[in-house]
């Protein structure tokens, strides 16, 4: 196995096995640019940790030269919240596929939004299970033909933006790798946002669900976030045109701070002897 040190300091020696032309390349480039921007803004890269689900998207965990935890299918949102709780000083970015986020792990996603966990979830939303050869996912269009739905999917897709807005996400955006500058900007804002930030990235799959042409036609630039939840929902429900940009962005108390204030559990430990004294006091011994 070739293990040459790559020229790009943000990339590891892992061989990139995404299909040529995959939408993940554009997402990766925008994310690397976002990291550089964040460093300019004062967040060093060693304070940014990543996690990922399982699928084509998850390989980004191997490719990015950032510390992290390559999690299970559908569980990375829970992993990310655990990472944040242990050390709130870290910025935690969770990459997941639409199968992870809205199928296997939907409950974790909705609850992360509900409790306003201070993590960033980036969904590589390609409407297909690529790595398992093209089955329909929670966001596939009705009628989608894959190996598990050879005569066309009979289910309507979920609308991730509406779901997340209703669940209480405090930052909701839609991105498209076809617009690099904007996607980079969305990532930077999402990671800098205090609270649960969610970015649904429309990601074409060249092998099983090539949506480049359609997305190039129907995406439109959203100038400014919605003023309130109703407007955000209205923008998110649009079907004929797909607005790209930050859809909603507001502030409310974040989970770990509500739970234990500004404490950093892995750093601000009660000294061992004081912990033992507290236990003796409880036991009255």
């Amino acid at each position: 196995m070739a293990k040459e040190t790559p020229k790009d300091p943000l990339i590891t020696y892992a061989e990139n096995t995404w299909c040529p032309g995959c939408g993940n390349f554009g997402l990766l480039t925008a994310f690397k640019n976002a990291i550089k921007r964040l460093e300019e803004h004062g967040t060093p890269r060693d304070r940014i940790v990543i996690t990922a689900g399982i699928g084509c998207h998850g390989k980004i965990h191997d490719y990015l030269n950032l510390s992290g935890f390559y999690s299970l299918h559908g569980r990375s949102m829970a992993t990310a919240q655990g990472m944040k709780l242990a050390n709130p000083g870290l910025k935690v970015v969770d990459f997941c596929g639409d199968g992870d986020a809205f199928g296997e792990g939907l409950e974790h996603m909705l609850f992360a939004a509900k409790r306003n966990a201070d993590i960033t979830v980036i969904v590589h939303d390609n409407g297909v299970y690529g790595l398992t050869t093209g089955q329909f996912t929670p966001t596939s269009e009705k009628g989608y033909r894959g190996p598990s739905t050879p005569y066309g999917s009979i289910e309507d897709p979920l609308n991730p933006l509406v779901l997340l807005l209703e669940a209480g996400a405090t930052f909701v955006a839609r991105g498209y790798p076809g617009n690099q500058a904007q996607l980079t900007d969305i990532f930077v804002q999402a990671i800098e946002h205090e609270g649960f930030s969610f970015v649904d990235v429309l990601q074409p799959c060249v092998s099983f669900n090539n949506t480049y042409k359609r997305y190039n036609e129907v995406t439109e630039h959203l100038d400014a976030p919605a003023k309130d939840l109703d407007e955000a929902l209205k923008i998110s429900r649009k079907k004929d045109r797909l607005p790209i940009g930050v859809i909603y962005n507001y502030s409310r108390p974040i989970f770990h701070r509500e739970l234990f204030g500004d404490k950093v559990p892995v750093k601000d430990r009660t000294p061992f002897d004081r912990r033992h004294d507290a236990i003796r006091k409880i036991l009255k011994v």
Binding site: M1, T12, Y13, A14, P44, D46, R47, V49, T51, I54, K59, H61, D62, N65, L66, S67, G68, F69, Y70, S71, L72, R75, A78, T79, A80, Q81, G82, M83, L85, A86, N87, G89, L90, E107, H108, L110, F111, L259, F260, K263, P265, V266, R269, T270, F272, R275, H276, A278, I279, R280, K281, I282, L283, K284, V285
Partner: protein, 561 residues
């Protein structure tokens, strides 16, 4: 004649403060310098039904309640009907004459408890206090002693409680005051009374627990409640997420960033966590997992006890990685073992399982605990190295140094098979390398356990008679049966079940073996046979959800020993 072992049983409807009436009595005995053990039998409902608490007390060591009581307090008809036959020959049953229809006799005494309770607001809530008040009268305590107990244990609405309690006390005193004389304790040193779940919580806290994650499930919910309540004093964060899958995945994520974490559930919830147990095994992430059993399969009998999850615990997680499973035989042991298993999780960067049962989780007893015996859970930490840091550095003992972000080094955990750096691999050589590393870690665990205390042995004398094998909370029943029946023989209780300490057990191979467990299929007997080559001559099994009763078990053991 002064009684050494004395048993008090209080029964009533859920919502009448039956459990509290048990706890208060246990506290009373402890304050007299006695030892006490409390058993709560309750149904899976909120109001009504039938609940009862049994407290057995002694000045000597006592490890099980007795079903036949010296004093039974029946708050309602159902309790009366159920427990009228549970009074010892020279015992007494005191019933609530407002709700129970029964004929009085010197042994069966009625007191108008509800009428008395009705004099105060919320009479139903106060009813349970009749239990300890009657108890105080029949064992000849002074009014002041009851007063101090009520002030301590029934603080809410204390004025009314004092009035009610003392009225019941006077009524009981007039009819059956000082009926029993308890053997005086050697000292009046009061011991803490804690449940198994409290012991598990405090043991982990003593070893440095940072964050506890759990979703409610009987019988481990009270770990969640207890740690949540004590979180400010202990400096622990407590999180109750959406389900058990999130519970363990969060705990693993937090542990990977350096937090000492613990999770707890019963069979069903634990089954949901199983995927992440394998994840912790693969990513080499330390986490302590508590499995509190109740009768299964499936939803089973939620508020009762069984040892039907032994094989489930031993085989947790898909794939090949080393597991560590241990089960405490007493509440004191639960305290130390919880701390020890958090320590082993960190030492070997792997999930460890504390297997126990409802009987221990929710049972309470007086304990002698030395907090200082619990060591801080520490892992091997990375120091300077020549090349880059490698999360899965291929070491001789299979344990790779840990390092946590933020760091200039790259720290990658991976659920896929990975190389030393933590990058996914499908290379056959790398696959073998990592399998071998994890296998060597398993061998290191065994060598480490060989130096540890892994098996408890009781009563091994010069005469090599029959050996009674048991484990977990059944140990409590077996030891009490031995004391009660004055049985001669050896009791062997493996604390560690995986790796199974066969090196300690080999010497019993040729002895007559009796295996006592709460399992219908004899899971523990199979383990002894398969791993240690010990074939049980006799099997004593109980699987009706109730722990073994010492008098019954003593006669069964006598029959086979």
């Amino acid at each position: 004649m002064a009684k050494d072992i004395f048993t008090y049983l209080v029964g009533g409807k859920a919502g009448e403060g039956v459990k509290k009436a048990g706890q208060a009595a246990a506290r009373l005995f402890s304050d007299m310098g006695r030892r006490a053990i409390e058993y709560d039998d309750y149904m899976s409902l909120i109001k009504g039904g039938h609940n009862f608490s049994i407290i057995s007390t002694s000045v000597h060591e006592i490890t099980s309640h007795y079903l036949k009581a010296d004093l039974v307090v029946a708050l309602d008809q159902r309790s009366f009907d159920m427990h009228i036959d549970h009074v010892v020959d020279d015992g007494v049953l005191v019933f609530n004459s407002d709700t129970v229809k029964a004929k009085e006799s010197p042994k069966v005494v009625g007191l108008p408890m509800t009428e008395e309770a009705k004099k105060y607001p919320e009479p139903a809530l106060r009813l349970g206090l009749a239990g300890p008040s009657v108890l105080a009268a029949v064992i000849g305590l002074e009014r002041a002693q009851l007063r101090s107990l009520i002030e301590k244990e029934y603080g809410r609405g204390v004025k009314e409680n004092l009035a009610f309690g003392q009225a019941v006390y006077e009524m009981a005193k007039a009819k059956i005051g000082a009926r029993f004389e308890l053997e005086p304790a050697v000292s009046d040193k009061s011991r803490p009374i804690i449940t198994g779940n409290e012991a598990i919580s405090l043991g982990a806290a003593a070893a440095g627990l940072d964050i506890f994650f759990a979703y409610p499930m009987t019988p481990t919910s009270s770990i969640l409640h207890y740690l949540a309540a004590k979180s400010p004093e202990l400096g622990i964060a407590v999180v109750h997420p959406e389900n058990e899958i999130a519970v363990l995945n969060m705990a693993v994520g937090a542990a990977a960033m350096g937090a000492r974490t613990m999770v707890a559930s019963s069979g069903g919830g634990f089954a949901l966590m199983e995927e992440a147990i394998s994840l912790a095994g693969m990513t080499e992430t330390p986490v302590l997992c508590v499995l509190g059993s109740r009768p299964g399969p499936s939803t089973g009998v939620p508020t009762y006890s069984e040892q039907g999850d032994l094989q489930f615990a031993l085989n947790q997680g898909h794939g090949e990685f080393s597991r560590l499973v241990a089960s405490p035989g007493s509440i004191e042991e639960a305290f130390y073992l919880s701390g020890e298993l958090l320590g082993l999780a960190w030492r070997f960067q792997t999930p460890t399982i504390l297997l126990t049962e409802k009987h221990l989780c929710e049972g309470a007893m007086t304990v002698d605990i030395d907090v200082a015996k619990v060591k801080f859970a520490e892992g091997l930490m990375h120091k300077e190295s020549k090349g880059p840091y490698k999360r899965y550095l291929d070491t001789k003992d299979g344990v790779s140094p840990m390092l946590f972000p933020p760091s200039k080094e790259l720290i990658k955990y991976d659920s896929y098979e990975h190389d030393e750096l933590g990058i996914t691999t499908e290379d056959p050589k790398e696959i073998v390398k990592m399998h071998d590393k994890r296998r060597r870690k398993g061998e290191s665990i065994v060598s480490h356990l060989r130096k540890m205390h892994t098996v408890n042995t009781f009563g091994e004398g010069k005469n090599k008679g029959p050996v009674v094998f048991t484990y977990g909370s059944t140990t409590l029943s077996v030891l009490e049966a031995f004391r009660y029946g004055e049985l001669q023989g050896t009791v062997v209780q493996p604390i560690y079940l995986e790796p199974f300490p066969v090196w300690e057990l080999a010497k019993y191979k040729d002895r007559k073996a009796i295996v006592v467990e709460q399992s219908s299929v004899g899971a523990f007997a199979s383990l002894l046979k398969d791993k240690a080559g010990i074939e049980g001559t006799w099997a004593l099994r109980r699987y009706d959800g109730r722990p073994f009763e010492p008098t019954e078990l003593a006669s069964e053991l006598k029959g086979v020993m």
